[in-house]
Amino acid sequence: MTERVITLKNFFEEARAGRLTAIKCGHCGELAIPPKEFCPGCQQRAWSAVPLSGMGTVVSFTIIRVPPRGAPAPAPYAVAVVKLDEGVSLLGRVVDIPFEALKAGLPVRFRPLVAEHQTGIGFGPA
């Protein structure tokens, strides 16, 4: 058994369709995004894919005012680390939430940010 339960490509194909997926260790219960070969917690290899609700709360955030070349949106835009309700975290761009409303603990909901060749992780109002 050497195939991955889920690859980065699968993860983003699912995300593009609005579905977030984590992998869960069948040995210690650790949830992870993205997939890895061995569980960082217990070093076992007993992953299965589990669907996530997409609901979570902001852990930390920033407002990018000096963007890189090829930025996904005109600056300023917000980026946040979000702890999902299932306990695993994910980083994404925040959309449709005023900057002033951003704070740790703010409830948000996953949404895919679909560009032509790439799917980005986004979070909007819960």
Binding site: V59, S60, I64, V66, P67, R69, A71, Y77, G92
Partner: protein
């Protein structure tokens, strides 16, 4: 294992140059050879650091190029890339080569050139040091990475933007004493606090600049060190890694790789934080200095901002941090930074730092962080 010493150091002026990164390194390497008072032919290997040569200069295979421009085209050489910790990582491997007995004299260094490209291009290249699946598509920049850390530290401990500003003011005050620093001007708290946000809560003056520069150090095994009085001994050197994904870091207010690398280096050296007299650490952003002073064990978690505000980390304070001006004022040519930090600590321990000399500097520590806090190296140095 054999003891290993730093026997020569060289650093270019930091700032804008019309020289390639490999030329910048070669100039610093020349100065290191003169400083060590050895023949160039004594050098048996080059451990070379550069990060953005492929992107900004369309140049890879940089180790042989650097050796060729130095005039030592036949020594074995390897190019290292560990984001901003690049040449400190190269240093650790060079120490191992000498300690193992494979070589007696090895050069470590780096060169970086980024001021030849527009800021948005340099920002893009640096962002390649964060993850390309989640972080780059979200538009996360390096100031953004440390802004996430800053926000978490502020929320958890009440650290303020003013406390962060104190780090910038202090490092500019030190940089004004360093003739090779990119910024040799003092600034006020107001200058920092009124500067524009780059990635909230970090403002322009919380951020180190883009920098061109080169640095080199020469290492030697104990039996071949001739000028023992000037030798600066490597007492410990450790690397640590943490998850590459910002979203997997369990506590954004801390850098676990700093804590683990420091613990290993202290153990190797048989020393603790209280033994350290002078520090060069990775202040790519003001919050990075605050978090590093906590992770290295100098101050309790959450009190690094208070220590900065009280002046404890200033020259003349309890523990001088970044007497060179740090990345903030001296500048940050990323592939050369680790070697430049080690060069500064060697200079401090030899008591040759002139107006920026830390009093009673006998034990020095160097801390270099790479990328999104995924790589950290910590090394300790001392004199006989």
């Amino acid at each position: 294992m054999r003891r290993v010493a730093v026997i020569g150091v060289g650093v270019t002026r930091f700032g804008k140059h019309d020289l390639t990164s490999a030329e910048l390194f070669a100039q610093a390497a020349r100065d290191a050879i003169i400083d060590a008072d050895i023949s160039p032919s004594a050098i048996q290997a080059l451990y070379y650091g550069n990060v953005t040569g492929g992107e900004g200069e369309h140049q890879l295979h940089l180790g042989p190029l650097a050796a060729t421009l130095l005039g030592l085209p036949t020594i074995p050489t390897t190019r290292f890339e560990n984001a901003c910790a690049t040449s400190h990582a190269a240093f650790r491997h060079a120490v191992t080569e000498i300690a193992s007995g494979s070589s007696d004299v090895v050069m470590v260094g780096g060169g970086e050139r980024v001021l030849n490209v527009p800021t948005e291009a340099a920002t893009e290249y640096f962002a390649y040091c964060s993850d390309a699946s989640f972080e780059q598509p979200a538009g996360l920049t390096f100031p953004g990475v440390f802004a996430l850390i800053a926000r978490a530290h502020m929320d958890k401990y009440g650290t303020t933007e003013e406390q962060m500003a104190h780090v910038a003011v202090k490092n500019h005050r030190h940089g004004a004493l360093n003739p090779k620093a990119q910024f040799q001007n003092e600034i006020t708290l107001e200058t920092v606090l009124k500067s524009a946000y780059v990635a909230d809560p970090l403002k322009l003056f919380d951020c180190c600049p883009f920098t061109d520069g080169g640095a080199a150090i020469i290492l030697a095994g104990e039996e071949v060190v001739r000028a023992r009085k000037r030798a600066v001994w490597v007492l410990g050197t450790q690397a640590a890694t943490d998850t590459m994904f910002m979203h997997e870091k369990r506590d954004l207010s801390r850098v676990p790789a700093t804590e683990r690398a420091a613990a290993g280096a202290y153990r190797q050296a048989g020393l603790g934080p209280a033994d350290v007299d002078v520090v060069e650490l990775h202040d790519c952003f003001t919050i990075a200095e605050i978090v590093a002073t906590e992770g290295l064990g100098f101050f309790e978690p959450g009190t690094g901002g208070f220590a900065a505000e009280k002046g404890w980390t200033s020259l003349g304070g309890k523990l001088p941090v970044n007497p060179s001006g740090g990345l903030k004022a001296k500048g940050h040519p990323i592939g050369a930074t680790g070697a430049a930090q080690i060069a500064e600590i060697a200079t401090q321990l030899r008591r040759e730092a002139g107006p920026r000399q830390a009093d009673g500097a006998s034990i020095g520590l160097v801390h270099t962080l790479g990328g999104n806090a995924a790589t950290v190296l910590v090394s300790l140095f001392g004199r006989d």
